[in-house]
């Protein structure tokens, strides 16, 4: 599929990247909010550090998987500092592809209950 060649350079995603993209797939968020959401979803177990988060955000923005969806008023310093990110169409495709990949990976493991699951 054309989509595959489009997204394959970006896969596999690093866990932090997947976390960020997965968060943003539910709507635009700013950096700290992404942190909070990740914390929530993973129940505190896989929260990235600030530096890691921001560097990854920067990288994802460079790779055009996310973008800054705000047009900040240059006079408002506070607003300018708080950048809000959203997925780009490419980013959507990438995260979907990654999830599919992970599904495929884990597909064969469905037989029988896993410890801690299915109660």
């Amino acid at each position: 599929m054309a989509e595959e060649s489009d997204v394959s350079p970006y896969l596999p995603l690093r866990p932090v990247e997947l976390q960020i993209l997965a968060c943003l797939s539910r709507g635009p968020l700013h950096g700290y909010a992404i942190l909070k959401e990740t914390e929530e979803r993973s129940e505190g177990s896989a929260v990235p550090g600030l530096t890691t988060l921001y560097r990854t955000l920067k990288k994802l923005e460079e790779e055009e998987l996310i973008r800054d969806c705000q047009d900040p008023d240059p006079r408002d310093d506070a607003a300018r500092q708080r950048r809000t990110f959203t997925l780009t169409p490419l980013g959507s495709r990438v995260v979907r592809a990654e999830l599919r990949r992970l599904q495929a990976l884990t597909a064969g493991l469905e037989e029988g209950p896993l410890p801690g699951e299915g109660r």
Binding site: T51, T52, Y54, R55, E62, E63, Q81
Partner: protein, 900 residues
């Protein structure tokens, strides 16, 4: 530590540590992420403190500090990598042109794609360059083949053309006895050979006589030139001495007339009225001096005139320098010999000298002036074309500079931006060069076919290795020059200014516009030079048309009627011609008819020397003059005025020492006195005085562009061998005259061929061929240059208007009159034209002196021509600038302000 302080408080100590660690990060990362990191660090600590108290806060702080530390090495690594050229910045993809360097093939494809997206621009550049390069290649192939290539003989630089000189005659043919003496007295030569070109043989082919052009030669010609016949052999000294009837055929003659039959060697051919044995076939592709000779026979065919030291039957001497002898040494030697001969034969050789020149020079003739002139002109055309291409490139570079600005902001280095620009220029240049070569090869073919006779040595003209190499050099130079301006412009993209002002719209910095204007001024100047040259040549051509020949060639038919051995005596020939002329005069289609030898404007030449004896105004060395034998009605037929005395009666006997002279000669010999009745002597009859019975007007029998020479006339009854007829047609019907002529001659004697039938008007045109050809080519170049310069001017002004659309719109909105706006734009264009024309004037004054060899009755700085060129260029240029000016005045202010 207890509870949280203010929003920024509590974590003060940790924040300070955080900041400290952060300061070790690369500057760009600090800049970009620092503020957000510090802010969120504080917030995070706050929250953690609110959740889990101070232990939570500390834990969180330590965690974040660890994370900060953990990211330090990769951050530095990335920062370092970003500074490398060609760093893979995934965000900046192909299309904006800042793609990573992925290899030459891809880069070329990108460049080609970019060019395909701009078909107009690409086509304009390729066509402009193609035509200019093609013209240069074509002209250079002429220069290379005609001027530069050596003659196709072994050791061609040792071949020398030797001519005799007299004080008032730079180069003459040679008297054969002098040649014999040279052979004995000079040690500088391996051999001296003689050739008499342009000899008409009467070839009898199955009963029909045909005049075939050939040459006469001495037996040692093959040895001197270094080429032997392809088949058979050349004649020997013995055979020449005995007067054997032998001949050789040219390769072309053998192929076309005899079907390359190898048995032809040893067979016989009827020349004149005698059977000649064919000794051999000359090699193919003959070069000077035998390139037009279909037959080659021994020199002795010339007859008795060969033995006379005072006679000059048109012999051309070629010498091959002996080993280790230089041309300079040979010159000195021959001067010595000439001096000795002058002493020994004061009658004929007084003040006689010799002139030695490389044989190639004589082969080339006058063509060198014209060819070098054309090469110069075509080089100017190339400069204009390159300037235009550079201008187009600059416009494009400016519109792409916004892209360049962004790319540079994202870290692309100069090379990454200039790279595509350079590649595009390279591709365009190569395409233009290829087109040029195609055009050139077509032109060379056409030239070889149509310029036969107008230019010598055309067989040597081709698009060979040296021409291709030179063309490649020209193309690379053109690419370098045309591409450098846009490439430099792209590199110096003004970053901040470009991005802030929206780049393409503002059209770049002032320095770019300045450069474009300079290029246009340059183009206008160069165009003026080419125009001036074309104008001067045009005037020359017109002047030649109007020039006074002294006789009227219009409506005159000439033909040669060579009588064969059936008319052995002068009397029998005179009787024939007299009858023929009488019959002609009685023919309805003929207004008047006469005979003359040699015929004006024709190839033949007869010169003789007037002896100074008894003449006050002639030095001892004598006066060289042209001579001709004529029938009495010659002057009337040719419209040459009789100024004093009378013409010949037609009954003069051999003994009557009467002569007619022209005005100039009369003036030379007896200024301000009545020449009729006076007498003088001339060779060969030094003992007899001829007296002048009549004086006629001056004539230029070599054509309007030759210098005047003096002329004397003798009656045909005293010694004609072959008379040329000049017949003026009644009612402009030359074809009727030709028919009647053929009929009459056939009626009188069927065995006599009517040869060299020509319209004198054509012969006159032929004498102006070189000038005419040069004029035609220069006019073509001038037209092309003019077109390019006007297009360039239009382009620059139109573009400038487009840039200033907003400004103009505002002016108009504020009430400026449309006419004023138009005038403002026009002024800009006219300023460039005026400066260009002024510079061009200076340039033309320097360069037109190269034309002086070809001009006729026009000064190289002729004010009328230069003035006309200036006016033409200014008017057309103003029109080219006027169109966008008009467009400017029609800008609708409301629309433009909206768009902005």
């Amino acid at each position: 530590m207890s509870g949280p302080g203010g929003p920024e408080g509590g974590g003060g100590g940790w924040t300070r540590v955080f900041r400290l660690l952060l300061s070790v990060y690369p500057a760009d990362v600090r800049r970009e992420l620092g503020p957000a990191l510090i802010r969120d660090f504080r917030r995070s600590l706050e929250e953690a403190g609110g959740h889990s108290g101070s232990m939570g806060r500390h834990r969180r702080a330590l965690g974040e500090l660890a994370d900060l530390l953990r990211n330090l090495p990769p951050a530095w690594y990335e920062s370092w990598k970003r500074r490398e050229p060609g760093y893979r910045r995934p965000a900046v993809t192909a299309g904006a042109g800042g793609a990573p360097w992925t290899g030459v093939g891809t880069e070329i494809r990108h460049a080609a794609r970019a060019l395909r997206r701009r078909p107009g621009y690409s086509a304009a550049v390729i066509l402009t360059l193609g035509m200019a390069v093609g013209a240069n290649a074509a002209v250079f192939s002429l220069v290379d083949g005609i001027l530069l290539e050596s003659l196709p003989y072994p050791d061609p630089d040792a071949l020398v053309h030797i001519s005799e000189t007299r004080p008032d005659q730079e180069r003459m043919s040679v008297a054969y006895p002098n040649l014999t003496d040279w052979r004995e007295m000079s040690r500088s030569w391996k051999g001296l050979a003689a050739v008499r070109r342009g000899w008409g043989f009467r070839l009898v082919d199955e009963g029909t006589p045909r005049l075939t052009s050939g040459a006469l030669a001495s037996a040692n010609l093959p040895d001197v030139l270094g080429v032997q016949p392809a088949l058979g052999r050349f004649f020997t000294e013995e055979e020449v001495r005995r007067g054997d009837r032998v001949v050789l055929l040219s390769h072309g003659f053998w192929r076309s007339e005899l079907g390359s039959d190898p048995d032809v060697v040893g067979s016989t051919l009827t020349l004149g009225d005698e059977s000649h044995r064919v000794l051999g076939i000359m090699p193919p592709d003959p070069a000077f001096p035998l390139e037009d000779a279909r037959l080659v026979a021994p020199l002795t065919r010339i007859g008795d005139r060969l033995e006379e030291r005072s006679q000059y039957p048109g012999i051309f001497v070629i010498g091959r320098l002996a080993e280790e002898v230089t041309l300079t040494a040979a010159r000195r030697d021959m001067d010595r010999v000439a001096g000795l001969l002058a002493e020994r034969f004061p009658g004929t050789n007084h003040q006689g000298g010799v002139h030695l020149s490389a044989l190639k020079e004589s082969a080339v003739g006058d063509a060198d002036t014209m060819l070098l002139l054309l090469q110069g002109a075509v080089a100017l055309v190339l400069l204009i074309a390159v300037a235009n291409v550079a201008n187009l490139g600059l416009v494009r570079a400016v519109s792409a500079s916004r892209d360049a600005g962004i790319r540079m902001a994202l870290g692309a280095r100069g090379g990454r931006i200039a790279g595509p620009a350079i590649l595009e220029t390279l591709l365009l240049g190569l395409a233009g060069g290829a087109l040029g070569l195609v055009l050139a090869s077509g032109s060379v073919e056409i030239m070889r076919r149509t310029l036969q006779g107008e230019l010598p040595r055309l067989a040597a003209v081709s698009l060979d290795g040296s021409v291709l190499l030179a063309t490649l050099g020209v193309v690379l130079l053109a690419i370098a020059v045309a591409g450098s301006a846009p490439a430099v412009r792209a590199l110096r993209a003004d970053l901040a200014g470009t991005l802030r002002s929206g780049g393409g719209r503002r059209g770049g910095s002032g320095s770019t516009s300045h450069l474009r204007n300079v290029l246009i001024v340059g183009e206008v100047a160069l165009t003026f030079v080419v125009l001036a040259g074309a104008g001067l040549m045009l005037r020359t051509t017109v002047n030649l048309l109007d020039a006074r020949l002294g006789f009227d060639p219009e409506d005159v038919v000439t033909a040669s009627v060579p009588l064969g051995s059936g008319y052995p005596t002068v009397e029998s020939r005179v009787v024939f011609y007299r009858q023929l002329l009488q019959r002609l005069e009685n023919t309805r289609s003929v207004e008047s008819a006469a005979g003359v030898t040699p015929v004006p404007l024709g190839p033949g030449e007869w010169q003789t020397m007037i002896s100074g004896t008894g003449l006050e105004r002639v030095d001892d060395e004598g006066l060289l003059t042209d001579a001709a034998r004529v029938t009495p009605s010659y002057f009337e037929t040719m419209d040459i005025p009789l100024l004093a005395g009378r013409s010949f009666s037609g009954r003069e006997s051999m003994g009557d020492p009467v002569v007619m002279i022209d005005e100039t000669l009369a003036d030379r010999l007896w200024p301000d006195q009545d020449p009729v009745g006076r007498s003088f002597r001339f060779w060969p009859s030094a003992d007899r005085s001829y007296h002048v019975i009549g004086v006629v007007g001056n004539t230029k029998i070599q054509g309007a562009n030759q210098e005047s020479r003096t002329q004397l006339y003798l009656p045909y009854t005293q010694g004609v061998s072959s008379l040329n007829l000049v017949v003026r047609a009644r009612n402009d019907d030359e074809s009727a005259v030709i028919e009647d002529l053929r009929r009459l001659v056939a009626e009188m004697d069927a065995s006599i061929p009517l040869t060299r039938v020509r319209l004198m008007e054509e012969m006159e045109r032929d004498t102006r061929r070189a000038e005419s050809l040069t004029t035609r080519i220069l006019i073509f170049f001038a037209g092309f240059s003019l077109l390019l310069a006007l297009l360039g001017l239009y382009g620059v002004i139109a573009y400038s208007v487009r840039l200033r659309t907003k400004e103009i719109g505002i002016r108009l909105a504020l009430g400026a009159r449309a006419a004023r706006v138009a005038r403002m734009v026009l002024r800009q264009g006219v300023a460039m034209i005026v400066i260009g024309v002024a510079l061009g004037l200076v340039g033309a004054m320097a360069m037109t002196r190269f034309l002086s060899g070809l001009l006729f009755e026009v000064d190289t700085l002729d004010p009328a021509t230069l003035g006309a060129a200036a006016v033409l260029l200014t008017v057309l240029g103003a029109a080219a600038a006027g169109i966008p000016a008009l467009g400017a005045s029609r800008i609708e202010p409301a629309k433009t302000l909206q768009e902005e």
